[in-house]
Each structure stands twice: as structure tokens, then as C-alpha cells.
Symmetry: C2
Subunit: 459 residues, 2 copies
């Protein structure tokens, strides 16, 4: 046979998970020959080979297969064994080898499978986790522009029963491309003898199956529609996502963000159900990272050991001063993380945000600084707690607070921008991480201010 | 006139905002007399008096009014002047004086007003802020059980156009009480000559207008329906809430929780739009509260001033040790706050959660403790940083970490239960608050362990 590739050779390549070779060997075959070569394989192995074909070739091979074999192939795509084989693929291979499936195959696949099978097969469809492709349902009503309204209504009565929503109807062209969306009331109000094309405005909002699901949340909120259509990269309509599903997504995303802000990895399972060992692992990761970075505080404090020995009273205010920086940092970072997540703040706004945070940081630092000075003065008059240089101490704490709170607000608000800029999830700059960063720099600010003000007196 | 009350007297009572007197003077009048008495008043003042009537009496007065006056009255209910007058009412008065409006008036009110007017009038309806009553829309399809399916379909075609969803249809009895909900497909599939009652199962889920909107989020997720009906306390159908509106609510609630967890008040306005002065106020409140409580750390440190003077090296690990407690506390509290918000954890689970947190806290504390001991030992061998008693110091830090992380996990996880138990929002136990609490107690744990282990050597 061509290239000497036999069905046994193919079988061995699958066994040794040599996906690149399979693609290399099969990509130039004619569809008919390839269909013949694949015939003796089990449906599961056939599915693996089929999935590795370039998109165009896959479309041609599929249409060449007889209806019965098409169905077996589709069924096999949701088979756990097939998924297992494909999961042995490295992420790099996944990007280079797995092209989008032909729209026709995707549609049939989605329609054939139960929703449970669909969620298994979605891995094979090549839609990344957390993408719109994993959310869509194939149950919706599609109509053609040349139909009369009364024919469309008939069609809806017949096929609308299983659809997830009948508030929206989608218009497609001959090739399956989405060309408009219609609200049900537009159809009900139109003259029965007029055509679908008469009420079309060809303005619609659609999602791509590869879009992130956070995009879908924003889009459906902005569009204020009960569902949005999902297309492949060529604009062919594959399915819809409904606002019910989006509600679940929005809640999951918020949960993940909150857990990250709280300084652990996203649990991804309900708190009461996750195994304790697993939860400890997810929480330990960040706690350990934070602990390791917080060790820098010990290093920083070590550098100031002489100052502390001379003026023990300085050490007394360390927790107060650095925690204020941490708190203002958490505030700023959570505000920005959430504003980014709901689409209120974008990358380009960083300068605007920075200006706001400089003002807020100075005001907040000023407020805390004044309270700090009052507290130390009061304790001096009441208990004579802080020796003869109490006022210089108060000044040190007050000025350090302004600097530290300002720095906390700036660091907390800018870190999410930085993380997003380099392609990470802003929520990962979880508040405790900012707090740790600000703790270390806060110590340096505090002792530097102290060295400056107390030189010649306490130090 | 009866009780000597004249229209001038009424006018004066409104001017002096004496709502109790208005209610007292009018409540025993016969509806016809009352309608006559109110006639010379402006529509706005009439609305104020009307709103203060007991429910039954209001229903009778309303039905006594002529159609024209009914409409004027309804219009006036969304008038800003009326709202302003009613807003001068104390919260106590609001609870005792403002009964639920008669269902018939509520329905007409909701139907008459634009969605903007509706949101103004909703204050007057007496539904508390953040209640389902403020979310509902009056645009839905209702049918009667004795109708034939074909009549119901006709009705839907006529009135369904303006409805928010036609996926759901609601069945009401003669008195307007909700008796069932039907999915559109049930109706489309039924024989046209059969009756609505034939396909009813009288099982439905409904919200009360006074329910909190968080309840609606949970209910609509559990029911997996595109909309839920809303009734008054007597079960009369007032409106529906759709999943679109619920999506907005879910996002707002998550935003509020995140902002509270981040240690500020909920901003309630987009970050980029809120005035800086307002934002500073909202952030300052919590920062100042946290600062004041964090002052306890200065007091606690002050108590250990002698120990620090003797062993300055102890102070070096203060930020490291207490921040670990703070981080584990934030983790635990955010996990529990979110699990409560999405309904995974309930008050009754506190004991179960506590057991989980004891295990997690011990494991996490153990991990950090071991790392801490390794760090100090390593620095000893590498740099001879910590003097001859380095091992006792390492032991102090290690043991203190176990205790502090355990305590942080427990305090962080139990505080949300405590807050909810006393009727507050668990998110208010924002992570920084837990951190502050744990900072103070962490210091005490650390220095107590030190006193115990280092007595006779460093101390």
C-alpha cells in the first residue's frame, strides 16, 4: 500500500501513541483509499485516526463513509477509551495535530449524543476547557431565509419542542452559516405569507466555540438575550448557549475568583465534598508560596536587628504598620480584580486606575497616619508608654503609614494589570500575595523612615 | 365630619409627616366616605393617604374609585414627590404602617408603569431593597384551567408578544392565585380540544415578593427553569423573574461579596465611575476599623517588650509567624463565605466544618512548621545567623506555626457561621478582619511558646 502503511502498521502507531506519524502517513491519501484502510480497525481506533486528519480531508472521508459507519464513528467519539488514547497527547501535539472538526461532523456529533456523552466528547472536539464549545447545546430552532413565515411556524411546532428555548430562532444559509437571529415575537407578528428574509436585518451577535466562557457571560449580559448562537471559525452555526447555563458559569467563575482572592487554588469541588487531603494540597500550595516569600520579612527584619536592639519600641509597631499596608493592598487588588472580571476595567485603563489609587492611597494613608499619631500621643499622656522621644516615634509611624498605605494601594491595584498583561488570571494576585509583597516593602519603608527621623535620638 | 377630620386636616397631617395620625384617623371610615374625603386632594397626596390604609380597606376604596381616578392614583404612585414624602417615614413606621398593597392594585400598578417608573414605585410597594419584589416583571402569559388548549394558544398568540418569556405559562384561579406552571411544550403537545386543567399537575415552585433576591438565585438554579413566578403573601400571582435578571443579581451579589472579602464596603457603583471621595469613604471605614483593632498588636507587643529586649532575634520572626496565621485564616473564611453564598454549606454544618478545619489546620500548620524549622537550621549552618540557641528558636517558630495556622483556620471558618447566626452577612467577616484577629492572638501564641521553650536560655 501507499507509503507501505498497512492496517497493522496503523494499529501499531496507535498502540505506541505516535500521533505525528499517523497524521504524517495518512494526510496525503485519497479519501476513498483511507476509508478502505480504516475499515478493519475497531470503531474506537478508527475514531482516533479520523480525529487526526486535516479538517478538509476529514470532511471528505466522512462523507465517503456509509451511514452506518458514520454513526459508529460518531458514537466512538464519546467513548472513554478513545478519550484516554487522545489524552496521551502532549499539549504541543494537541495544538498542532488537532484541527477543528468539520462543522457537519460536529453538528451530527452534538445531535447524536446525550448531554453526558456530549460532555465527554467535547474534549475530542478540541474545544479547550472553559471554552464556549463545552457549554453549547445543539437543541435550537433553525430556519431558512426563503421559507414563508407559516412554514417556519410549522417547522417550529414540529422541532421546537426539544429546543432549549423557543424565544429565539436562528436563520442559516445553504452552507449552514448563521446569517441572522430572530426573536419569536418577530415571527409571530409577521404576515404568514411573507418570507423569513423579509423580517431579517442580518444583525446578530454570535460566539465562537473557541471563545472563553467568561466572554459568553459578558456577551449575553450585554446582548440582553435569552440565548446566544455559537459558530465555528467559519461562521457555521453549531449550537447555542442559554442564559441558564451562563448563570452556572458566572457563579463558578465568581467562586474561583473568590477562592483565589482568599489565597488558595480554586477548589473546583464543593467544600463539603472535596476530600480533605485534596483540599489541603490545594490550600498548601499557596500557603507555602506565601510563607516562602514572607521569609523575606525575616531577612528584612534581620537587617534592622541593630536598630531594634537600640529601640525595642520600634518593633512594637511593626505588625500594626505592615498590616495596614497589607489591608489597603487587599482592598485595591480585590476591587480591580472584580472590576476586570465583570468587564468594567480593561488593560488600557491602567493609567487612569493608577491616578485614582494615588489619590485614594494618599487619603487613606493620611487618615490612618493621623489616627496613629493620635494613638501614640494619647498613650504618652495617659501611660507615658514611649519615653521622651514619643513625638518623634509618633511622627515615624504616621509618615510610614502614609507611605505604606500609598504603596499598598498602588501595588495592589497594579499587580492585576501586570498579571493580565503577561497572560495570567488577575485573580491569582490573590490578596494575601499582595499583602506579603507589601509586608516586606512595608518593613523597609518603616525602618527607613525611622532611621531618618530618629537618627541622633533613639537610633 | 367623622372624627372631625377634614380635607384640610388631612393636608396638614401630610405636611407634618404625621403618618400614624393619618392611619389612625382614616382606618375606620367607610370606603365611600373616604373616597369622598380624598377627592379634593391632589393625586400625589391621595396616593400617600391611600398607601397608609390597611390592606382590606385599600382594596375596597380602590374598587370604589372611578376608573379615571384609579389611573391617576396608580400614576401618582411612581411620582418622585410621593416617594419623597414616604421616605420621610422612619423604618419602624414603615414596618407597622405599610401593609402589602392589595394584589389587584399591585398588578395594575406593575402593568401601567414603564420599567423605569416601576423601579421607582417598587419602594412604595413596600418590598424591601434586595427583595424579589423589586426584580419582577409583569409581562408574562397567564391562562385559566377551564380554557381549552386552542383557546390558550390563541390567547398566547395575542398576549405573549410582550411577555418576557414564552417558554413558561402560568395557570391562575378566579382569584388570581397561582395554581400551576406549564412549559410551552406541554401546551403545544396537548390535544387542541382538551383543557388546560387536563395537563396540570399542580406542582410548581414560586417565590414570594418579599423573599431575598439571593433566594431567587438559588431557586432558579435548582429549578432549572427560564423563569419563576412571584406571588404575594396570599399566593396571588404578581409577576415573574427571568433568569436574565437573576444573572445580573448573581453577579452583583458576587461583586459585593468579593469587595467585602477584600476588606471594604460594597462600592455599589462601578470602580471607574464612583467618585473618588465616595470610594475613599467606603474603603476608609473598614481600614480604620481594622487599624483600630490591629492596634491591639501594639499592646500585645508592648507586653512582651522585655522578652524582645532580651532576645531581639524573636522579633525578627514576628511578621512571618503572624502573617501565616492571617493567610490561613483568609483561606478558610473565603472558602466558607463562598460555600455559604452558593448554598453548599448551611448553619447546621458548623460542626462538620470545624472537624474538617481542625484536620486541615493541623496539616497545613505542620507543613509550614517543618519548612520554618528547615529555614532556621539552614541559615544557622550557612550564616550562623541565630546564635547558639538556634535550635530552640527553630522549635519555637515551628510549634508556634502549628498552633497559629490551626487557630487561623478555625477562627476563619467559624466567624462566618457566627456572623450568619446573629443575622449578619458572613462576607462581612472579610478576610482582613480575620487576619487582624489572628495577628493579635498569633502574637500571644508565639510569645507564649517562646517563653515556655526559651526560658533559662534566651529568656
Amino acid at each position: 500500500m501507499k507509503n507501505g502503511l498497512t492496517v497493522y502498521g496503523l494499529d501499531n502507531l496507535i498502540k505506541s501513541r505516535d500521533f505525528k506519524a499517523i497524521r504524517e502517513h495518512t494526510k496525503n491519501w485519497r479519501p476513498a483509499d483511507l476509508a478502505n484502510l480504516m475499515e478493519p480497525l475497531s470503531a474506537e481506533k478508527e475514531a482516533v485516526v479520523f480525529r487526526l486528519l486535516p479538517r478538509e480531508q476529514a470532511a471528505r472521508v466522512f462523507s465517503y463513509l456509509q451511514r452506518r459507519r458514520q454513526e459508529d464513528l460518531l458514537k466512538a467519539m464519546a467513548d472513554r477509551d478513545v478519550i484516554k488514547i487522545m489524552n496521551d497527547m502532549s499539549d504541543d501535539d494537541r495544538t498542532t495535530l488537532l484541527e477543528e472538526l468539520p462543522a457537519k461532523v460536529t453538528q451530527q456529533l452534538l445531535n447524536k449524543l446525550s448531554s453526558r456523552e456530549r460532555s465527554i466528547a467535547s474534549q475530542l472536539l478540541g474545544y479547550p476547557e472553559n471554552s464556549v464549545g463545552r457549554l453549547m447545546t445543539p437543541h435550537f430552532v433553525r430556519v431558512r431565509p426563503q421559507w414563508t413565515i407559516s412554514y417556519a411556524l410549522d417547522h417550529m411546532r414540529r422541532y421546537g419542542l426539544d429546543s432549549e428555548t423557543i424565544n429565539m430562532v436562528y436563520v442559516i444559509d445553504k452552507g449552514g452559516k448563521l446569517i441572522d437571529d430572530l426573536r419569536i415575537r418577530q415571527i409571530l407578528l409577521a404576515a404568514p405569507k411573507s418570507h423569513v428574509s423579509d423580517i431579517m436585518d442580518s444583525r446578530f451577535i454570535a460566539l465562537k466555540a473557541t471563545d472563553e466562557r467568561e466572554t459568553a457571560v459578558r456577551a449575553i449580559k450585554d446582548a440582553d438575550l435569552p440565548a446566544l448562537p455559537v459558530t465555528d471559525t467559519q461562521g457555521v452555526l453549531l449550537g447555542i448557549v442559554t442564559v441558564d447555563d451562563i448563570l452556572d458559569v458566572a457563579e463558578e467563575e465568581a467562586t474561583e475568583d473568590i477562592q483565589k482572592i482568599g489565597g488558595s487554588e480554586a477548589l473546583e469541588e464543593p467544600y463539603m465534598k472535596i476530600a480533605i487531603s485534596k483540599m489541603v494540597r490545594k490550600r498548601a500550595t499557596w500557603l507555602v508560596i506565601l510563607f516562602l516569600s514572607e521569609m523575606l520579612t525575616a531577612t528584612a527584619m534581620g537587617k534592622f536587628e541593630n536598630e531594634i536592639a537600640k529601640a525595642v519600641v520600634l518593633s512594637i509597631f511593626v505588625p500594626l504598620v505592615i498590616s495596614s499596608g497589607g489591608n489597603s493592598g487587599s482592598q485595591a487588588s480585590t476591587l480591580i480584580i472584580r472590576a476586570m472580571a465583570v468587564g468594567e476595567v480593561h488593560l488600557r485603563d491602567w493609567w487612569h486606575v493608577m491616578r485614582r489609587e494615588v489619590l485614594s492611597g494618599l487619603s487613606l494613608g493620611g487618615i490612618l497616619g493621623v489616627i496613629g499619631v493620635i494613638r501614640i500621643s494619647a498613650w504618652h499622656y495617659l501611660f507615658h508608654s514611649y519615653g521622651e522621644h514619643w513625638f518623634l516615634l509618633a511622627l515615624t509611624v504616621g509618615i510610614a503609614l502614609v507611605g505604606i498605605v500609598l504603596w499598598g494601594s498602588l501595588a495592589g491595584s497594579m499587580l492585576p494589570f501586570l498579571l493580565r498583561r503577561i497572560g495570567l488570571d488577575p485573580a491569582t494576585s490573590s490578596a494575601p500575595f499582595v499583602a506579603t509583597l507589601v509586608d516586606v516593602s512595608g518593613l523597609i519603608i518603616y525602618f527607613t523612615v525611622a532611621a531618618f527621623i530618629l537618627r541622633g535620638t533613639l537610633l
